[in-house]
């Protein structure tokens, strides 16, 4: 039986990116939301809600980028130079965000500085990731297998739109995680923030969904040609339904459903993008099959990945289970 290795790997890279976006999404989102309160104990509680998880969450970023390199070196070698500026900015933002976890716990007079580092770092990382997404969708110029554009080709109104959309999306994930993990004033406020953010995110999704088919002919073709349209029209409908369920869950004081709805919303947006772009890993020219590594490489990596991913997912679930329940006020940082 012939396995389409590039297709399998596209699914794995897709999975790793989805895991990253959801998991680091909520902790970046909370980093951003930290800026909306100035009470020290509230900030501490919000950080404690993510402290045991952030490092494991961020590891999915390394897996996503790594898997892209391993399975699709042709794409990796083009995407990274093309999106140099947002990638580097994202990395520097993550440096500040990462060390801020430790430094703010130890700092006395410079705690406000490290809080700003966490807020600013989280926000910048989110914006950059959105810009990277937008830059990828709008396409990258390739000549002779290498990037052939300038340092700022990616910077367009469209990528700015995507950047803000991802920022709002992560903030939504963060707010709904707080609803799940905290109680008292923080949880109540997070619930209100989540409702606003839900509307904002939905707004961005509508704008991007309308923009992409009209800005990019290939995407218009993908969605509106027949018979595609008959298969694809449920996607926006289901999205609206999920948003509605999420809203009702927030209104009715539900604790877990808001976070699950936010995840579902993200996955639907993600699905929409995949539908728009597949099979081009680097629009408009490079497909997954063209960018692929050799079968030997993909197979060698696949065998191990199929064995290890379930184990990894297993102990990730385990850690979330160990730290289940509400973050109590007075929980100290190790």
């Amino acid at each position: 039986m012939q396995i389409d290795l590039p297709l399998v790997w596209a699914a794995i890279v897709g999975l790793a990116v989805a895991m990253y976006v959801i998991l680091d999404g909520f902790d970046l989102g909370i980093g951003v939301l930290l800026g909306l309160t100035d009470k020290a104990n509230e900030r501490d509680q919000m950080v404690n809600a993510i402290a045991p998880f952030w490092d494991g969450n961020e590891t999915w970023l390394v897996l996503g980028g790594g898997a892209l390199w391993i399975a699709f070196p042709g794409a990796y070698a083009v995407i990274m130079p093309a999106l140099y500026v947002p990638v580097i900015a994202m990395l520097l933002a993550l440096v500040f965000r990462g060390v801020a976890f430790e430094f703010r716990a130890l700092a006395e007079s410079s705690k406000p500085f490290w809080d700003s580092a966490m807020i600013g770092g989280s926000a910048l990382a989110a914006l950059c990731q959105g810009a990277i997404l937008g830059g990828l969708i709008q396409g990258i110029r390739i000549e002779n297998g290498a990037y052939a554009g300038g340092a700022f080709d990616w910077a367009t109104p469209f990528t700015a739109l995507c950047a803000l959309g991802v920022l709002a999306g992560y903030a939504l994930l963060g707010a709904t995680w707080l609803v799940l993990k905290t109680e008292g004033a923080i949880a109540t406020r997070a619930r209100e923030q989540a409702k606003i953010l839900l509307l904002v995110v939905l707004g961005f999704m509508v704008i991007v969904s309308a923009w992409t088919p009209f800005a990019f002919e290939r995407i218009f073709e993908r969605w509106f040609s027949l018979p595609n349209f008959f298969y694809l029209w449920p996607v926006p409908l289901v999205t609206a339904l999920v948003a509605f369920i999420g809203w009702r869950a927030l209104e009715r004081g539900r604790e877990v459903m808001p976070f699950l709805s936010a995840i579902a919303l993200f996955l639907l947006g993600y699905l929409g993008l995949v539908i728009s772009v597949f099979p081009y890993l680097v629009p408009p020219d490079l497909t997954i099959w063209q960018a692929s590594a050799t079968p030997s490489t993909q197979m060698f990596m696949l065998v191990g990945t199929l064995m290890l991913l379930p184990i990894i997912l297993g102990y990730v679930v385990f850690v979330y289970w160990i730290f289940r329940g509400k973050v109590r006020e007075g929980d100290s940082y190790h």
């Binding site: 494991g56 990274m80 140099y84 440096v95 060390v99 060698f300 990596m301 102990y315 190790h334």
Partner: protein
């Protein structure tokens, strides 16, 4: 200002990786030490050991975080700045790094959560298990990354098809000729460096007459380990050198500033290599010293730099001086280890204040050795990025020099701030010292006040005596 894009890209990678290597070096060693303390604490039931583990865990957390964020930078930098290398070598070394992520990074990162936040929440067994998993993760990580880097030094198990390297035999790729030596050498370096830090902290406390029991425990454990590992490192280094002579003879020639194959193989303690004139000035040498080390014969010959044209030679001054810095640091550590062991055997270690003063102020020496050693091995490989297969100059991304110069400037500034803060906070934690009460409940209150008081009383009595 005209920047050479290759040089700027090299400077950026060199800077970010030199910064990064400091933290995994410390993390590998310290995680093993913490795991050891945790197991001992669980087995003996001595709370003092648990408190010592908790003390080092707080310091560990800082080092780990800085290692993670600087590591993510490197993972993406292969693509941003070295895309041609990534396209060329990705089929071969990509999976090695992929397995590093899957088998090591997730393991460490996940169990770190329990290690840092599990106190009072999870049973002691799980706490101990988590610290062992983190220590194990760091070793597995070292395995994979050294395999990948070693392939760049002694490529094997591949073939070149359509201008890129494709895998032939995965066993040969991973266990390439230089891998076992470099893996052993680096792993030992990590344990050695960390042991020296523990020794220094112990000495510092004794000099200040604080936490005397903990300080003595730390020094005893550190010296015990150093007395074995420091001399072992000399042996591992020698074996590594012999392997390098076999597979990368021009690197050895540069390290020794050895120009003529048939000339005397003197070991230059100091010299000023003149790369234009292809000779050394102001040489202070041990006659036949290099021949002896490299060929185990007094008149043994080894390849000189003049065997290859100048475009195939690494930067001689860099490799030469970095190597001597590493040797100096390394032999200092051997001396410190052996002197310390002798003093301990004579029972006067804790009262020998001149020794305590020296080691307390040289906690950084292992890091100097590690960075110097890495400079030797990486610059010694130049002008190749993959030894004799791909040149560094052909490996960069199509990104302008000014863009890279900007990102380099940002890295220098931001890493500078973060590093300074890290050292400051670690120093603060060391000044604070191990807690006198075990942190067992989430609110930070001891759950066994009597045993905490008992320990505190014993410590107070011990420091008086």
């Amino acid at each position: 200002m005209e920047f050479d894009p290759v040089l700027i890209a090299r400077l950026q990678f060199a800077f970010t990786i030199a910064f990064h290597i400091i933290f995994p070096t410390f993390t590998i060693g310290l995680s093993a030490y913490i795991a050891t303390l945790m197991v001992m604490a669980m087995v003996t039931g001595r709370e003092r050991l648990q408190r010592l583990a908790q003390f080092w865990t707080r310091i560990f957390a800082i080092s780990f975080a800085m290692g993670v964020v600087s590591g993510v930078v490197l993972a993406y930098q292969f693509g941003t700045n070295w895309s041609r290398f990534s396209a060329f070598a990705g089929n071969v070394i990509g999976p090695l790094i992929g397995y590093e992520v899957l088998t090591a990074f997730f393991l460490e990162a996940t169990f770190l959560g329990i290690m840092l936040f599990g106190w009072g929440r999870v049973p002691m067994r799980l706490q101990v298990f988590s610290s062992i998993m983190v220590a194990l993760g760091t070793v597995i990580s070292t395995f994979w990354i050294i395999a990948a880097n070693s392939w760049m030094q002694t490529p094997a198990g591949h073939q070149i098809v359509d201008g890129i390297a494709v895998p032939l035999d995965w066993w040969d790729i991973i266990f390439n000729p230089s891998f076992p030596y470099r893996f052993a050498h680096m792993l030992n370096a990590a344990y050695l460096t960390s042991a020296f830090v523990v020794l220094a902290v112990g000495a510092r406390y004794l000099l200040a007459d604080r936490h005397p029991e903990q300080a003595r425990t730390m020094m005893r454990m550190a010296i015990g380990l150093l007395a074995v590992l420091a001399p072992l490192q000399v042996l591992l280094g020698d074996l590594h050198g012999l392997n390098t002579l076999k597979h990368q003879p021009i690197k050895i020639a540069a390290m020794e500033a050895h120009w003529d194959t048939f000339g005397p193989g003197n070991f230059h303690v100091f010299a000023w290599p003149d790369e234009e004139a292809e000779e050394n000035h102001f040489a202070i040498s041990i006659p036949q010293g290099a021949s002896l080390i490299l060929t185990h014969r007094l008149n043994g010959q080894f390849l000189g730099l003049k065997e290859v044209p100048p475009q195939e030679r690494p930067p001689v001054k860099t490799a030469f001086f970095a190597f001597r810095v590493m040797l100096a640091a390394g032999f200092f550590m051997v001396a410190a280890a052996l002197v310390g062991a002798w003093l301990m055997w004579r029972g006067v270690l804790f009262e020998t204040r001149w020794y305590l003063r020296i080691v307390a102020n040289t906690w950084w020496i292992g890091f100097v050795a590690v960075i110097a050693g890495w400079i030797v091995t990486e610059t010694g490989r130049q002008p190749w990025i993959v030894h004799r297969i791909m040149r560094t100059a052909d490996a960069i991304s199509p990104v302008t020099a000014s863009t890279v110069a900007t990102s380099l400037a940002l890295f220098v500034v931001i890493y500078g701030i973060v590093f300074a803060a890290g050292i400051y906070y670690i120093n603060r934690l060391i000044n604070k010292g191990p807690q006198s009460r075990a942190l067992e409940s989430p609110a930070g209150l001891p759950t066994r006040p009597l045993s905490a008081a008992h320990d505190a009383g014993r410590e107070a009595l011990a420091s008086r005596g």
